[in-house]
């Protein structure tokens, strides 16, 4: 059972990574990062359940990681809204105003 769950989390993580490399919209990037964090959380909870069931450390970490991911995306969205008001799009490929 643990094997399947770890494979699921690996799949989620890889999908997230693929999304980051291919997505053009900033919102899409946030979703991809969220997927990667969730993959890590699944890992924590599964390892907790199957390998160290005497403590609930892994689940606590899962809750904290969820809250922190929400905080991170919140800040990201605030910055994105500010940018969107000025640029009228969220396409990251057009964000090249900082030159070498």
């Amino acid at each position: 059972m643990l094997r399947q769950i770890v494979l699921l989390s690996l799949f989620l993580f890889s999908t997230g990574l693929y999304g980051i490399l291919t997505r053009r919209s900033s919102v899409g990037l946030f979703i991809a990062i969220e997927m990667m964090i969730n993959a890590a959380i699944i890992n924590f909870v599964a390892f907790n359940r199957f390998l160290a069931p005497s403590h609930i450390d892994g689940q606590v970490m899962g809750i904290f990681a969820m809250a922190l991911a929400a905080a991170e995306v919140l800040v990201g969205m605030a910055i994105l809204v500010m940018l969107f008001r000025q640029r009228k799009n969220t396409d990251i490929q057009s964000m090249n105003s900082l030159k070498h």
């Binding site: 990062i33 990667m36 160290a52 904290f64 991170e72 800040v75 990201g76 000025q86 900082l98």
Partner: protein, 479 residues
Amino acid sequence: MNIFLPELTVLATGLIVLIYDLFAIKKDNSKFSTYFSLLGLILAFVLVALGDSGQALGGRFAVEGIEPWFKLIFLGSSILTLTFTAETFTSKAQEKLNHPAEFHTMMLFSITGMMFLVSSRDLISLYVSLELATIPLFLLAAWTKNIRSGEGSLKYLLSGALASAILLYGFGLLYGLTGEMSLAQIGPKLTANPALWLAAGMVLAGVGFKLTLFPFHMWAPDTYESAPTSITAFLSVASKAAGLALFFQLYYRVFSTHTLSFQFIISLFAAATMTLGNVVAIKQKNIKRFMAYSAISQAGYLMMGFLGTSHESTASIIFYLLVYALTNLTAFAVIVHHTHNQDDESIEGLRGLSLSHPILALIFMIALFGLAGIPPLSGFVGKFFLFSVAAKSGYYWLVTIAALNSTVSLYYYLRIIRQMYIEPLNPQEHPMKSSGLFKMGLGIGVLGSVVCGLIPMIYEHIDTNTIEWLSTLHVLGMK
């Protein structure tokens, strides 16, 4: 309870500054928030300096040996940053900062996170404090609210969030391999297997982002260039110190039984980082972008300290971090002052500075020579210790590369000095007025960056604390 006092002081100061602003009658209270934040930080600085070692929360929070040094570097660099940030709230430049109370609160929260980061002893508090240190910096980088600043901040945020997701996955693997959350208990239980190397690689990627190591440095030039200049200073010093603190925690505690397997890859990172930083810095035109690449190459030098197998290597990293913080902040104090008064971020904008402001130009020259590592200055002493650490471990090729890089770096630091001393005066230069607070911060910075190398007591003190600290750990091959 006493152990928490410095962290709680910083946190409480941040909250008071924020709440005072909410109820303040006068709308422009940048003076209050600057001075009150400085007061809180100095109080915390004194508390850390006088504080004892000990543990709290069932061993999840501890202060031992070298942790006070890290906290002093965080607090000291934020004090210096605030001394030259104060005038950017009232300046007329394009990059004028608004909302001083929120600005200071964010900064104080970030410092609280960094201080907890050094002292945390399990994966949960390590990750939470890392995020507390990083998330406010995303906001601070976007503080000027224009397109460039937002773009730089978004790049910082996306790569930061990606790095922290990868780091979290690495932590998950470490937890899965051992079933433990406490850093001290993970270490002895780790055995060499492919999953461990995957976890180690992910952790290195997460740390490399904060330390701006070579393949993970992409965000740094853009963010440094577009962020408010005082935040660039804070990012290049305090945030880098936090990354180093994170790597200390993981390298000496979690991977303590496998440190020797890391050495080769660390030497590669160090060589690549310092070479890239130096080579790209040569052709930069924007002073902030230039300092970004200079900071990247300095991170490469810092990594050399991890190659050692004795207490001297650890001590030399902390000593160089201290020296780098003081020297870099001195350089940035002049840059902040100049860019805010002239509204010009190009290196050429500095031309003829020695004619109009001889003392400012002299201080900037001392700081740049310190970063390049010219003998009487402390930058030289710090670099000498780091290079000798690598040489003692037999990494002669790395020392050769580092010495060559130092020579290259002298060339581009001298480029700025040439602009200041040889070129004629910039005809568009506006008169610059400096406040007392700015002068004080600049004085402390330049004094520190000269004196640290001359007084042996500082290094000896760090060395004693390091021996004490290492004796509580069981690091393979460490004497």
